[in-house]
């Protein structure tokens, strides 16, 4: 059903010799002579009919994020001092501790936001990138939905960083109780930023170009 709609020969801005400004949605003429892009008459942004080097940029940013995720998950994310005893804790330690205390819903939130989402998000971007690069014949509408989810959910990984900031500020009673941020926090923050940048640099219109090229 959905397939019929997508497989009908659709007129895109690109095929009609037009291009859309990604910043302000202004539709304008596209000339094949220009390769460097033109300034949008409305907002001044540089406009191309597709984001140049979108795939290469997205790959680079995704792999960077993946590399940062390794120290983010192995190094301690915080140090908890309670009654003079210090204890280092990684992301997964925090989740296990919450489970032991019987706080399953919170453990689930932290697990999803800090461990599952970053990895699922990277997997999602990689699948999208591969599907465009290898011209997989997958439903573009489903892939667009996947892209929107990847784009939306990425920021929620910041939860853990914010929780650490709040805990560090609140629990600062010296030897009685103190919480300090660990090395992993910086790596984790960078991983979140890079996955957000990766999702942003991916041009979702490529998912649909693929289909049109296949049919021609």
């Amino acid at each position: 059903m959905g397939k019929d709609r997508t497989q009908k020969k659709a007129v895109t801005a690109k095929s009609a010799g037009l291009m859309l400004c990604r910043e302000c949605d202004k539709l304008m003429q596209y000339s094949h002579v220009m390769t460097k892009g033109v300034a949008c008459p409305r907002c001044g942004a540089t406009v191309h009919h597709r984001v140049p080097q979108s795939l290469a940029k997205a790959w680079a940013l995704t792999l960077t994020a993946l590399i940062f995720l390794i120290p983010a998950n192995t190094f301690p994310i915080m140090k908890i001092v309670f009654m003079g005893e210090g204890e280092l804790s990684t992301i997964i330690d925090g989740v296990i501790l919450l489970v032991h205390h019987g706080m399953i819903p919170i453990a689930l939130i932290i697990f999803i936001a800090s461990i599952a989402v970053p990895f699922l998000k990277i997997t999602g971007i990689v699948v999208l990138l591969l599907s465009v690069q290898l011209k997989w014949r997958l439903n573009p509408r489903q892939r667009t939905t996947m892209y929107r989810m990847v784009e939306w959910i990425g920021r929620w990984s910041m939860i853990d960083i914010f929780v650490i900031a709040i805990l560090v500020k609140l629990v600062c009673m010296g030897a009685i109780a103190e919480i300090q941020g660990g090395l992993a926090a910086g790596f984790f923050g960078l991983a979140v930023v890079f996955t957000m940048l990766a999702a942003n640099s991916f041009d979702s219109r490529l998912l649909w170009d693929n289909i049109e090229n296949n049919l021609n």
């Binding site: 001044g44 939860i159 650490i164 900031a165 709040i166 805990l167 009685i176 941020g181």
Partner: protein, 207 residues
């Protein structure tokens, strides 16, 4: 009146489909038939409503950021948490990168967004010619995507629950202001129809 009931060529920003849109009634939206992206929505009185929420948000910004949100009591020692304080505590414990990230996403980005919205919306109402309006609005769109107040509130709830079994946690007046800021901030985003602002900017350039 609302600048949206004209038959005009549009392209979907998510799948590049070219289409003509025949007028969108108040409160309704135009959706791309191919990928389902919302092309635009005819939001009633978008500029006035967004401006009102922006001003309210700016008023709430100061108490929300500088008044204590949570306080913790461990054996007679009390400590407070403020939005700005949380970021600075990270900086003093040597976590500069994380401190900058937290400060930007929870304090600076919302504040810059609100200020930009105020300037942009007032200028579109005053019909004054300002060259940089397009640049300001582009800047707003970029900064706004890094504002994470809605995530911060969930982080506050998680922090409360984590601390509950170890000490006494109290919710302070700042929390109320923060919730108010969150509601007005998200409300301003909901009532703002960007295409209306872009059209006004374009009209002004043509004159």
């Amino acid at each position: 009146m609302n600048g949206m009931d004209r038959n005009e060529l549009h392209a979907c920003h998510e799948c590049d489909l070219l289409l003509t849109v025949h007028g969108v009634a108040k409160g309704r939206k135009a959706v791309c038939p191919r990928c389902g992206a919302v092309l635009f929505e005819n939001k009633p009185d978008t500029i006035n409503r967004t401006l009102a929420l922006t001003i309210a948000g700016l008023f709430l910004f100061w108490p929300a950021n500088f008044l204590p949100i949570l306080s913790l009591n461990i054996m007679g020692n009390t400590s407070y948490n403020t939005m700005v304080g949380a970021a600075s505590a990270l900086a003093t414990s040597g976590q500069f990168l994380v401190a900058v990230l937290v400060l930007f996403c929870s304090v600076l980005a919302p504040f810059i967004s609100l200020c930009l919205l105020l300037i942009i919306l007032i200028q579109t109402k005053l019909q004054r010619d300002v060259v940089s309006l397009a640049q300001l609005f582009r800047f707003y769109n970029h900064v706004d995507s890094w504002a994470m107040l809605e995530i911060y509130i969930i982080a506050l709830l998680v922090a409360i629950i984590k601390l509950l079994d170890m000490a006494e946690v109290d919710v302070n007046f700042g929390m109320l202001c923060f919730i108010g800021l969150l509601i007005t901030y998200l409300g301003a985003k909901v009532t703002l129809e960007k295409s209306v602002v872009w059209e006004k900017i374009e009209l002004r350039k043509k004159r």
